[in-house]
Structure formats: C-alpha cells, structure tokens
C-alpha cells in the first residue's frame, strides 16, 4: 500500500500514472502536498530511526547513571533500616554471644570516610541481584570471604558498584594508604587500615581475594579486608583493589559511639 501510493509521486510517475491522469487535472493536489519519492522517504524514515536510536541511548545513560542509583538507594535504605531495627530490638550486647547472621538482611555496615560519607550495607554474595540494591557484597565465589565476625584469620573480600546501582564504591580512588576502613556489626567496630592499593588489574585476577593476598605484599595470615570494584570509571575493563589490615576492634557501646576514625 505504501509503495503503491509513493509510486504515484513525481519520481516514479511512470510506473503507475494512469489514475493520476484521470483525476489529476480535475483535483490537483494542494500546493503544500509535496510528495516524496521512495528513496527520499526511505532516507527520511532512516533518519528518524537514527534520531530515535540516539534518544534511546541517551535515555540509557540517564537510566544507568541516575535512575539505577535512585532505585538502589531506596532499596539499600530500606534494608539498612531493617538491620538497624533488628539490632535495636535484639538483646543488648551484654555478652560475646554469636552475632546473629541474617544473611538476607545484611551483616553490617562498611564505613570508608575518605571514599564516601555514607555507610554501606554489607550483604552476602556478589551477584548482580545483591549488588544492584546499592550494597556491598562479600564474596562467596570464587574465593569465599572470611567474615571478621568469625574471628578467624582470612580475607574479608567485598565488591560493590562503581557507577549506577548506588555507586557505593564510586570514590574508591580517593582512598589512600593509611586511611581507615571500619566495618560495623551489631556488637563490634572492626577498624582496618589500608596498606595496599592496586589501581588496575585483570578481572580474572582472583588472587587478590586470597586469604593471604600475596600481591599486596603480605606473606603471613592475618585479618585482611579487600575492596574490589571496576575501573576506569563508567567501564568494566579492569578491577580496582584496595587492601586493609585489621588494626583493632572496639566494642559497640550503648550510644553506638563510632571509633575515633569516623569522628
């Protein structure tokens, strides 16, 4: 239908112009009706498709860098509130009883004052489904993280998004050696000090998650923390790694007074 109509236009007038001869003189098309030939029409539609594609890509950028943050921050705030509530309701930190792990709700909060002023909820796993809620996840695969609450020596390895979905590790490049990273659980502040930074490594470099991360220069088992995210900003070409070592722990008091590193 489309092509037959177009066929009556000026360019292809020879193909199908009998009708045009019949009613053409009787009812001349209005002057404004400038008709396109098939080539011009095709180019025009192609141009509109390009414009559409550009708009969709632009929207995708908006989605990635803004909307996912809105959604993720909302989810993270909700889950953080839940964790805080359950801590507040639970029995007071009177003993050294096992910290209750609600693996679904998150196990604690990460504070890295030089990276961001926000507290970052830590949950189990590093799948997109977990991380897209605007939290940091501790590794269960390919190298299982050792949780600081277990008291064992090992590596507390974490991942979070650099951009979009809360972008919790966006400012990871601001962390310098000697900076504190504090992990807060119901009963304890775990104060780590950053001692190693790897600004760029292969995404297949799972060695950085080892219980003793050799690449950071450590040889002996200890209480380590590892933050991983993607780099450079806005891409996922490489991984950025920050290592810290436990300096001390501090009991959480009734007012949850943060350790001096966070004040």
């Amino acid at each position: 239908m489309r092509s037959s109509v177009k066929g009556r236009g000026n360019v292809a007038a020879t193909t199908d112009d009998t009708e045009q001869h019949d009613d053409g003189p009787a009812a001349p098309p209005p002057a404004a009706r400038r008709r396109m030939g098939p080539v011009v029409a095709a180019v025009s539609v192609f141009g509109e498709l390009l414009i559409t594609a550009g708009l969709v890509l632009g929207l995708f950028v908006v989605y990635s860098l803004w909307w996912t943050n809105v959604v993720a921050d909302r989810a993270a705030d909700q889950q953080a509130d839940k964790v805080r509530d359950s801590w507040a309701q639970g029995p007071g930190g009177d003993g050294d009883g096992p910290v209750s792990f609600d693996s679904k709700d998150g196990i604690g909060f990460l504070h890295a004052p030089t990276m961001s002023g926000d507290e970052i909820l830590v949950e189990k796993g590093t799948s997109m489904k977990v991380l897209n809620d605007g939290v940091a996840g501790y590794y269960t695969d390919p190298v299982k993280a050792t949780l600081p609450t277990s008291g064992k020596k090992g590596n507390f390895s974490l991942a979070a998004h650099r951009d979009g979905h809360g972008a919790k590790f966006h400012g990871i490049h601001k962390i310098e050696k000697g900076d504190p990273i504090v992990f807060e659980t119901k009963d304890t502040w775990y104060v780590y000090e950053v001692y190693g930074i790897l600004p760029e490594t292969s995404k297949y470099n799972v060695q950085v998650l080892s219980p003793v991360p050799k690449e950071s220069g450590k040889e002996k088992a200890g209480h380590y923390i590892t933050l991983t995210t993607c780099t450079p900003v806005y891409t996922s070409k490489y991984r950025y790694v920050v290592w810290g070592e436990l300096v001390r722990t501090e009991k959480v008091d009734d007012d949850r007074t943060p350790p001096e590193e966070l004040r």
């Binding site: 008709r35 539609v45 997109m128 891409t235 996922s236």
Partner: protein
C-alpha cells in the same frame, strides 16, 4: 479520492503519528506526552534492566570465568 487517506508520502513516522492522533492541537500534544512517558516507562522498567547485564559496563567482581 484526490487525497490519500492514511499516508501521502510526504513525511516520516513521527508526523504520521501526530496526524493520526485524535483531537485538536492541545489534545494531540497531551496524547504525545502520554505516549512518550509510556515509552520511557517501558524502557526504564523492562528494556534497560534486561539489556544492562548484557553490556560490559557494570561488572565489578573478579572471577575466573
């Protein structure tokens, strides 16, 4: 007979949509806005979340795959 009813070969898809929206200019503008919002909603709610994991922008973990 003289004018072509649904396509007269002089414009692209957007003006085609515009001409086929009912009502006067204001109604058309309003309907266009509703269409735009609907499209953006579909993109943000369904298309982008589907497309995002397929694109290499947001992988943050190290793994051996």
């Amino acid at each position: 007979m003289g004018s072509v009813p649904w396509y007269d070969g002089r414009d692209g898809m957007y003006s085609w949509i515009w001409r086929h929206l009912p009502g006067n200019g204001w109604v058309k503008a309003l309907l266009s806005l509703v269409l735009v919002i609907a499209v953006v909603y579909l993109l943000f709610q369904y298309v982008f979340p589907w497309a995002e994991p397929l694109l290499p922008f947001n992988d943050v973990t190290v793994d051996n795959q």
